[in-house]
């Protein structure tokens, strides 16, 4: 019988022969098409950044707390004269670490947390209740004091991202699909950074502060995940780059 002469009734246990064969072929074709589409879509995803969140693997850190403009832990690198590392501090979820370390400015502490890092930029998600004061040995010489140097005024283009997701908690932690999340994080106190790219595609990450060196979180929300241009003074605090500019002067690029 031609399929067109057959009559299919779904509640009968068997489909007519030709109709059944056709349905089976369609099912096999759809299965193959689905698998091929899934593989192609997955392979076609944009490259993922080499970013890491050591979720669940907490370690101890000892250093000096700085709270302005953003909570940071200064950790002395091993060896005399080898300088300091600056770890940005954040709390669980979409929150900054102000509540965890806000009253410890300038103090030496031990804290537990999970490392978040991409390239040379590092951050710690601080475990609540783990911050406790310690006594650090006196520093031997002046070369071992934390350093600050001004690199000059630059005009930089890039995207404002929340440092926590971008550095590794989410991947990707950039672009429009991540805007809502980045906005929430920055609103919640996570330090905003400019992911700057030059014409050759080289990237730099700069912490954003206002002209007086203060936090800018609430003033950049509207520009998150867009391409922006910022002109300001770039400073290096040990291994951390900071871009100082009034958020009013940030320019959205169309």
């Amino acid at each position: 019988m031609k399929p067109s002469d057959e009559f299919y009734v779904g509640y009968q246990p068997h489909a007519p022969a030709a109709t059944g064969r056709f349905a089976r072929n369609v099912a096999v074709a759809l299965l193959a098409l689905g698998a091929a589409a899934a593989a192609a879509l997955s392979a076609g995803q944009r490259a993922f950044a080499p970013a890491t969140f050591e979720f669940g693997a907490e370690r101890d850190f000892v250093g000096v707390v700085e709270v302005d403009p953003y909570p940071t832990l200064l950790v002395k690198r091993p060896g005399e004269g080898s300088g300091w590392s600056r770890y940005l501090l954040v709390a669980f979820g979409k929150h900054g670490a102000d509540e965890l370390v806000g009253d410890r400015a300038g103090q030496a502490v031990r804290l537990r947390g999970a490392l978040i890092h991409q390239d040379d930029r590092t951050m710690i998600e601080v475990a609540a209740g783990s911050v406790e004061p310690v006594v650090l040995e006196a520093l031997a010489n002046a070369a071992d004091l934390p350093g600050e140097e001004t690199l000059g005024v630059f005009t930089l283009r890039g995207e404002i991202v929340d440092s926590k997701c971008h550095l590794g908690v989410m991947n990707p932690g950039v672009r429009k699909t991540h805007r809502a999340c980045a906005t929430l994080c920055i609103q919640g106190g996570v330090p905003p950074i400019l992911l700057a790219r030059d014409a050759d595609g080289r990237e730099a990450r700069l912490l954003l502060v206002d002209a007086a060196g203060g936090a800018v979180n609430d003033r950049v929300l509207d520009l998150v995940a867009d391409q922006v241009e910022i002109t300001g003074e770039v400073r290096r605090l040990d291994d951390l780059l900071v871009l100082r500019a009034d958020p009013e002067t940030y320019r959205r690029l169309e």
């Binding site: 779904g10 509640y11 689905g34 899934a38 997955s42 944009r46 490259a47 080499p50 699909t177 991540h178």
Partner: protein
């Protein structure tokens, strides 16, 4: 006899259908996540799962939207249609998994209620390219939920058929919302042209298939009326075709007075009923007479030809139309008979 048929919950065909569906979903998700883990070592599991669920739901929606027009083009696709409710419910759950993971990942653990945040955390509503895409996904999910929740025939009866059918046209609203959800979201963030090409091809396929099937249908409606198209032959009857043009147990569909009417021939008699099935508007005129009842090709609802009524205990009823035979030609009165006075049938020989 209809009762035992329609009450069948779980037969071999339905099981095969659901097993195939489950296998297809599993293969799709495994392929997406597997390829992702193999080729993108830096990708996080959450991102791969969010994307696997989202794209699986969207792909399945294309299959669902294709079944209707494909069945209009060839009855061979009917086995796909019979149980398509399960496709819809499966698609909803895939979309729900994607949405729930997205909300946990992108909106939970902040200072704002996650569901509020879906609407407020990107506030560029006035901008075309920057327009927030996540509220569009949430709106689609609500529509899909309403359809999945009411997909059972229980709701078809309780909401009344017209309300139910209007609600289920919402699948097109959901599709439109999701195309925008993807176009304003993932397509802006991804770089590979594959994504734009696939979304565009999917849209072209869905639109093209619907237009093509509608065109074929309109042409068939016109042709169906026969050479003496709608010619008045007295007493309000119009000429349809020669008796022998209608095979036994089958119907001739004509478009009369703006409505499709199915004229069935069975065991030497003729009867005319509306070609629109009371269940889900299936094409009743493409059915067969089985065990003395007109049987819908979509889900097998049955109607007695002379009365248009489903055999007890069912209560569906389709309008009936008077037919008669003069000089070997079938003639139809395109005015439906009122409920209490069915049109009955006539002999193919011309006697009443």
């Amino acid at each position: 006899m209809g009762l035992e048929y329609r009450a069948v919950g779980w037969n071999r065909q339905k099981k095969l259908y659901d097993l195939t569906l489950a296998a297809a979903v599993a293969v799709y998700l495994a392929a997406f996540v597997g390829v992702g883990l193999a080729l993108k070592p830096n990708a996080t599991a959450e991102t791969l799962l969010i994307r696997a669920f989202g794209t699986a739901a969207f792909a399945l929606l294309h299959v669902i939207l294709s079944i209707g027009p494909l069945c209009r083009l060839s009855p061979r696709f009917l086995p796909l249609l019979y149980n398509r409710r399960h496709l819809g419910v499966t698609m909803f759950f895939l979309g729900l998994a994607h949405a729930a993971l997205s909300i946990v990942q992108f909106h939970l653990f902040g200072d704002v209620n996650p569901l509020v945040s879906v609407f407020t955390s990107n506030a560029h509503y006035g901008d075309v390219a920057d327009f927030p895409f996540q509220p569009l996904g949430l709106a689609a999910l609500v529509v899909l939920f309403l359809m999945a929740a009411t997909s059972h025939d229980f709701w078809l009866h309780n909401l009344t058929a017209p309300t139910w059918k209007a609600l289920h046209m919402g699948v097109y609203v959901a599709y439109g919302l999701l195309v925008m959800h993807v176009a304003l979201g993932a397509l802006q963030a991804e770089r590979s042209p594959l994504y734009v090409v696939l979304v565009g091809a999917g849209l072209a396929w869905v639109l093209g298939l619907h237009l093509y099937a509608a065109g074929r249908e309109a042409a068939r409606d016109r042709a169906g009326v026969g050479p003496a198209a709608g010619e008045e032959v007295g007493d309000g009857f119009v000429d349809v075709c020669a008796v022998d043009e209608i095979p036994d147990a089958r119907a001739r569909v004509v478009c009369a007075a703006g409505e499709r009417v199915a004229i069935y021939r069975y065991g030497g008699r003729l009867a005319a009923v509306s070609s629109v099935c009371q269940h889900q508007n299936g094409p009743l005129g493409e059915g067969r007479v089985i065990d003395g009842c007109i049987t819908c090709p979509w889900h097998g609802y049955q109607y007695v030809p002379e009365t248009g009524e489903s055999p007890p205990p069912f209560t569906e009823r389709v309008p009936t139309f008077p037919v008669r035979v003069r000089d070997g030609r079938v003639q139809l009165d395109p005015r439906p008979r009122p409920a209490g006075r069915p049109a009955g049938s006539c002999s193919v020989k011309g006697a009443p």
